[in-house]
Amino acid sequence: MTTPEVLKYTQQTGDFSKMLASIPYAGTIGLMCEQFGDDLIFRLPRKQENLGNPILPAIHGGVIGGFMELSAAIYLMMSQDALRMPRIVDFSLDYLRAGLDRETYAECRLTRQGNRVANVMVTAWQKSRAQPIATARAHFLMED
């Protein structure tokens, strides 16, 4: 589990290895995260086990969803001063293009942070940021 120490370390160093190691599902799909100044870019490297449709071939829609969902949760944790575990309430995902068998990226935006609920927008793309493969919106309940 992400502890207050791990969060603090990640916020100070921009090294996500400890935080990601604390979330087994992140390792299963292979999620990575990099910090550029204040911005976070989430990365999902190519992985055979993540595929769904074998014809295109394309990444399983559920993996794209899980990647975006987990990106939003990590983004939210990083945006807080103290550790508050985000608990997902709902998740709404629009698939815009097939997610082909190549590296995928995601970025998040905090649309609204209330006392208890946060609304996050997520965009995922592959070859070009201008051509997103999916957009999503999630509500999280923030637990102290």
Binding site: Y25, L51, I55, G66, D90, F91, Y95
Partner: protein
């Protein structure tokens, strides 16, 4: 088409999805317009090692697979239908060490769009873990290579 054929088609389809195999997703029941899939509990889908609760992403994959596969139970011919959108509401965390089931239904089929709903639950108490509604676009069976269609319908020996 009878339920045995539906079960065969859906099982063969799910077995071609690498991620479904990775998570161990299996078909439990297939009927006209209805389908139940099973996601076994495993360490690799845990979101929080302290509570050992499954990450929402794995539930999303289960429900996306169930919703996408129930389309097969709703159409006479096999056709791949891309997902347009998916909305998941999380009711409660799944109990660790127990499989999660997804019961999906295709409740409206039109010439262009298929509407589905899906519920994730566990056997122990039957309470809903998550609800999902999704829409799929029909692009016609010709958009899918014949060899793959034959593989799913079982027309290859």
């Amino acid at each position: 088409m009878n339920d045995e054929m539906r079960f065969g088609r859906v099982s063969r389809f799910v077995s071609t999805l690498a991620q479904a195999g990775e998570l161990g997703i299996e078909v439990t029941e297939a009927r006209e317009n209805r389908l139940i899939l099973r996601l076994p509990y495993s360490e690799k889908i845990i979101g929080n090692p302290e509570t050992r609760v499954i990450h929402g992403g794995a539930i999303t994959t289960l429900m996306d697979t169930a919703s996408g596969s129930v389309v097969i139970c709703a159409l006479p011919d096999f056709e791949l239908c891309p997902t347009l959108d998916l909305r998941v509401d999380y009711m409660r965390p799944a109990e660790p060490d127990q499989p999660v089931f997804a019961r999906a239904e295709a409740y409206r089929v039109t010439r262009n769009i298929i509407f589905t709903r899906c519920e994730a639950f566990q056997e122990s108490d039957g309470q809903t873990i998550a609800n999902c509604v999704a829409t799929f676009m029909r692009i016609g069976k010709e958009a899918t290579p014949k060899a793959y269609r034959d593989l799913i319908t079982g027309d290859v020996e």
